[in-house]
């Protein structure tokens, strides 16, 4: 009897501990969000923050327009490189992905995701920056594309794989060519999942700092030329946060808040879309 009571109370304590741990796990997210909003809000409530570029310390009206521009250019170029290749590779893995080769491609993607992004920065520096003797937005975008590629491949594979096989069989039974079935029938059916996967990769790339340190390098001025060094939102956060000037630290918090809002927005919407697609795939 006594032993059973001990087991019951042990059970209760363990359950409590698990619940507390689950609650505790929300603490870091809430704290990071709370402080980013509290410290970043004063900076981003001025309209000039989004219109102006860097100002000397002490001069009011500093902004991050140049970093916005840089991030948009680099992430855009990276998307142009990584998304088409990644989507085609993902489709290939679903359509023909039974062999050794396809398993190798999958493993390579999973390993590539795990390579530290700073190493990718070193790689692009050695390939594109050192031979050309200058930093450039283009080299930064290639580094981001390398980061995005495996994510796009695997999310596309996942989304396309959810399309019911009956659709493929129907297409083939009608005598459609394999490429028509894959690209004009299966891929459109999987588009919501493919797009959200690509968006997640874009959001991830927009927040990456390490691969840009020695490729895009950063720039205090507005620049739209891909062959020149360029600012980016995460680079602003990193560089300005480490200065001793309160103005710059405030700018860094503002840029951090913009980044967080961007990534959270993309993540939450993509979650909703994915959930809907899985539900729809289940219904068919």
């Amino acid at each position: 009897m006594n032993r059973n009571r001990r087991r019951q109370s042990g059970n209760l304590v363990a359950r409590l501990v698990i619940y507390v741990m689950a609650g505790l796990a929300l603490l870091p997210l809430s704290l990071v969000l709370l402080f980013t909003v509290v410290k970043g809000l004063p900076a981003i409530t001025h309209v000039e923050f989004f219109l102006n570029t860097e100002r000397p310390v002490g001069v009011p009206g500093a902004g991050i327009a140049h970093a916005f521009m840089g991030t948009i250019i680099m992430v855009g170029l990276a998307s142009l490189m990584a998304i088409p290749v990644g989507v085609v590779a993902g489709v290939q893995l679903v359509e023909y992905g039974h062999g050794r080769l396809a398993d190798g491609v999958r493993l390579a993607c999973d390993v590539l995701v795990g390579i530290p992004s700073i190493v990718i920065g070193l790689f692009i520096y050695a390939v594109l920056v050192a031979p050309l003797h200058h930093f450039s937005a283009f080299s930064g975008s290639v580094a981001l594309a390398v980061l995005m590629l495996p994510v796009v491949v695997r999310t596309t594979e996942g989304a396309v794989g959810l399309v019911p096989g009956a659709l493929r069989e129907a297409g083939m039974a009608l005598g459609l060519a394999r490429w028509r079935v894959a690209l004009q029938l299966i891929l459109p059916a999987a588009i919501p999942g493919v797009v959200t996967g690509a968006l997640l990769a874009v959001a991830r790339a927009a927040g990456e700092t390490a691969p840009l340190l020695f490729t895009a390098f950063g720039n205090r001025f507005m620049n739209a030329d891909p062959s020149k060094a360029t600012a980016a939102l995460p680079l602003i956060v990193y560089h300005d946060a480490l200065t001793p000037f309160q103005d710059l630290v405030n700018t860094a918090w503002g840029a951090a808040l913009v980044l967080v809002m961007l990534t959270l927005l993309v993540n939450l919407t993509s979650r909703a879309v994915l959930r809907r697609q899985i539900r729809m795939a289940g219904r068919i």
Binding site: T36, H98, I115, P116, L122, W179, A210, P234, L242
Partner: protein, 315 residues
């Protein structure tokens, strides 16, 4: 591999004349493996000057002196291992606890909120953890944890010396937060994959909820949780920006938890754009090579582990 014969669709397409679509999509799909191989080759070849100059002694040399051009990786290897393992040690119990919570039935709303909350941790950019760690966590820890501990327990080696605002401990905590989503989401999947019959049998024999979890579910899911831990280790080893901003950037082995240090990734982030000459950058690239080879090994191991576990579970 066995599926190639098993799938009728694949067998049919193999009998057809070679189709162009298959050929060119296969070529495109090779982009990722080709890039991976290029990364290894390029980083390896750019480290050659340092490899030649220092040989294997590079890994155990303690001095990092760019002025005299003597370079050793030991402080950074030490810093990397300590932050990664300390971070994992903090994240593992919470990550598995959360996974157990998430894998249970009922209370779907709360589980949904907590699951999403933990997974969103992975979406926040590293540099945001950096600025948060630097300006929020670091001052708070210094005031409430590091200082009191080093004043009262300074005689114990790991708490000795003056407590610094940016130090090994803060970097480890930030790493712990950042690997939490990896740990908990994979562990949740593995725990969910434990056959329901095992739980039911355990409960039917009179075991309590916790006894079922502790003696049946967790041991069954052990291999998968281990795989998740190794995968998280890979993340932790390579974490760059947040660690760079919080670890204090001192190129020596700290004697205490509250001392500044440096990791392989953080020293590259800090010094590479200022590295002049030919030997200095090569030495930094060699650090990158070490980091890459270690994370590569760890990741492949973890992937094989997780893959085997999920396959076994399906059977």
């Amino acid at each position: 591999m066995a599926t190639a014969e098993a799938s009728p669709a694949a067998a049919r397409s193999d009998q057809r004349p070679p189709d162009g679509f298959r050929t060119w999509t296969t070529i495109v799909s090779l982009a990722a493996p080709v890039v991976l191989i290029l990364i290894v080759l390029v980083v390896g070849s750019n480290a050659v000057p340092a490899l030649r100059q220092f040989g294997p002694g590079f890994l155990i040399d303690r001095t990092w002196n760019p002025v005299k051009e003597t370079f050793g990786a030991l402080p950074f290897i030490f810093g990397t291992l300590i932050t990664a393992f300390l971070g994992l040690a903090m994240a593992l119990p919470i990550g598995v606890g959360v996974a157990v919570f998430l894998a249970e039935q009922g209370l779907e709303r709360i589980r949904g909120v907590i699951g999403t909350g933990v997974e969103l941790l992975a979406a926040i950019p590293s540099v945001v953890y950096g600025i948060w760690g630097l300006y929020v966590l670091a001052p708070w820890l210094l005031l409430h944890v590091s200082k009191p501990l080093s004043e009262r327990l300074g005689s114990i080696a790991i708490f000795s010396g003056p407590a610094r605002q940016t130090n090994l401990l803060i970097a480890s905590i930030v790493v712990a937060i950042m690997v939490l989503p990896t740990l908990s989401s994979i562990s949740r999947d593995v725990i969910k994959a434990v056959p329901g019959g095992l739980r039911e049998a355990s409960v039917a024999l009179g075991a309590t909820w916790w006894e079922t979890i502790w003696k049946i579910v967790l041991p069954t899911a052990r291999a998968g949780i281990f795989g998740a831990t190794v995968l998280a280790l890979g993340r932790a080893l390579g974490e760059t920006m947040a660690v760079t901003m919080t670890i204090g950037n001192r190129n020596d082995i700290p004697s205490s938890l509250f001392g500044p240090a440096n990791t392989l990734a953080s020293v590259i982030a800090n010094e590479f754009s200022e590295a002049t000459g030919s030997l200095y950058p090569a030495a930094l690239i060699e650090l990158g090579l070490v980091l890459m080879l270690v994370t590569l090994t760890v990741n492949v191991l973890a992937l094989l582990l997780v893959r085997r576990v999920t396959r076994d579970v399906k059977l």
